[in-house]
């Protein structure tokens, strides 16, 4: 049996409300909140980045897995905001956690699904017998261009999974990936902000690929939506995951536990992984979980998990997603937010 033996998330404490961003740009906050079903998002402090978020999330995963970090044979971090363009985020995480040096490491990139890429590859290595444990992290501190629609949702956070074959808490039953060339959202090398193709990011991108991977994995596994207790999809806003869930045949109730985007925002590579983490915080033995990520460009990774009795033993060993979402929040003004996100031009 191969699957998740430890999981952990990290969300920064700072927040900014949709109201505050709308006020800055002279937009109507109520219509934005209605259309996006999003109210506030997480903001990384000046001293936080994908690497620091990955370290904290991985520490929580280790608290749950209770394994010797030295037994981890691969560390993969998926992000679209790696602090270095050349130098993998994983090397710092390795030193911070006491992993290695006999370890394989890599950075993954595929817009918002880079985290599930790390999960898929980590899982495959354990399955192939190459490594005993793999650490897969999806984390981001993405930028939304000032005044752009994505500024309301682009947030920061991440989740780490330790994948192995002993004391598995959530077995990975099935995986399926679906990829086409679809330039719905991208960032050219050297540019500071990404760009997107407006409504083209909807049906031809998000929906097409989640449906493609979702239907693909259902067919491959022979399961139907009603077999599942929980479902989580990539969450660019509050509305899209509810719509695609419905199109695939899932109910709102099945999405409830993982639907954290209205208060977290879109943590990009951390999005569906953190939704999964929120589900794992409450799931019980025997539960089936359906997960499909989406990364612009475009593609989706689908997973089916089955929870074991081990999950209940590890849930309380580290902070839970809802605790981090609700506790110790510090709200920022737009000016503070712009400073934290380094949107203000300074002398070098």
């Amino acid at each position: 049996m191969i699957g998740i033996v430890g999981y952990g998330s990290y969300l920064p404490r700072y927040r900014i409300k949709v109201d505050e961003i709308a006020r800055e740009w002279g937009a109507d906050p109520d219509s934005i909140k209605r259309s996006l079903l999003l109210y506030e998002k997480t903001v990384p402090a000046l001293d936080e980045d994908t690497i620091t978020i990955s370290v904290e999330a991985a520490k929580n995963a280790l608290r749950r897995a209770q394994i010797d970090p030295g037994a981890i044979g691969a560390v993969y971090i998926g992000s679209e905001s790696h602090p270095y363009a050349v130098k993998p985020s994983a090397t710092v995480v390795i030193e911070a956690l006491g992993i290695g040096p006999a370890v394989h490491a890599a950075s993954y990139e595929f817009a918002c699904k880079a985290g599930t890429e790390a999960m898929y590859v980590g899982y495959s290595l354990v399955k192939a017998g190459e490594v005993k444990y793999a650490l897969a992290i999806g984390a981001d501190t993405s930028q939304g261009a000032p005044g752009d629609a994505l500024e309301y949702s682009a947030s920061a956070g991440g989740t780490a999974f330790i994948i192995g074959s002993e004391r598995v808490a959530a077995e990975i039953l099935e995986t399926f990936s679906f990829t086409t060339d679809t330039p719905d959202f991208w960032r050219r090398e050297g540019e500071f902000y990404p760009r997107h193709a407006a409504r083209y990011t909807g049906e031809p991108a998000y929906f097409k690929h989640i449906l493609g991977a979702g239907q693909g994995i259902l067919k491959k596994s022979g399961l139907t939506p009603k077999d599942f207790q929980y479902a989580v999809f990539h969450m660019p806003n509050g509305r899209f995951p509810q719509q695609v869930g419905k199109q695939l045949g899932f109910t709102k109730e099945q999405l409830e536990a993982g639907w954290i985007v209205p208060w977290m925002g879109n943590t990009y590579s951390g999005s569906s992984p953190t939704g999964l983490s929120a589900i794992l915080d409450v799931a019980k033995a025997g539960d089936l979980i359906f997960m499909v990520s989406f990364g612009s460009g475009a593609g989706s990774d689908a997973f089916i998990f089955r929870v074991t009795e081990e999950l209940e033993r590890i849930q309380d060993r580290a902070p839970k997603v809802r605790e981090m979402l609700e506790g110790g929040k510090i709200y920022l003004t737009y000016g503070q937010y712009a400073k934290f996100r380094r949107k203000i031009r300074m002398n070098n």
């Binding site: 404490r13 001293d47 690497i51 620091t52 370290v55 904290e56 520490k59 911070a96 510090i330 400073k339």
Partner: protein, 129 residues
């Protein structure tokens, strides 16, 4: 700062590695060659505790250029549960919330960076519990 000088302190800054004197038990952080307490020369590698309390602190309002974007920020001396003291920033709170004696927990943060093209420098800070 130059890469060699930065990475030499990695075991300490990233992983809290310290040296415990095998003769008298005093923990030196960072590790040393001679125990300042008993002049012993043999040490055991240990990792520092990650919780402690505030011994003293201040709110920095005028900083050097490297930290000028961050003011006001809180720096303090923290005594960890294993008796080791270190100097660090106290983050994710309003300066007014900090008082001597409050418990804290260490967190991993980016401490400095060399402009737009230099290396990123990480280390430990702490948060009020």
């Amino acid at each position: 700062m130059p890469s060699p000088r930065y990475t030499r302190e990695n075991p300490q800054r990233l992983h809290l590695e310290a040296a415990k004197c095998t003769k008298c038990g005093k923990i030196s952080f960072p590790p040393r060659l001679l125990c300042p307490n008993c002049k012993g020369k043999e040490f055991q590698k240990v990792q520092l505790a990650d919780e402690g309390k505030i011994v003293t602190y201040t709110v920095v309002r005028v900083a050097s250029r490297a930290f000028s974007m961050e003011t006001p920020y809180v720096v303090g001396i923290v005594e960890l549960n294993d008796g080791v003291r270190l100097t660090t920033q106290i983050v994710d709170c309003a300066p007014e919330d900090v008082t001597i004696g409050k418990p804290v927990k260490l967190v991993f943060r980016r401490v400095q960076q060399e402009g737009n093209s230099g290396i990123l420098e990480y280390g430990y800070k702490c948060r009020l519990v």
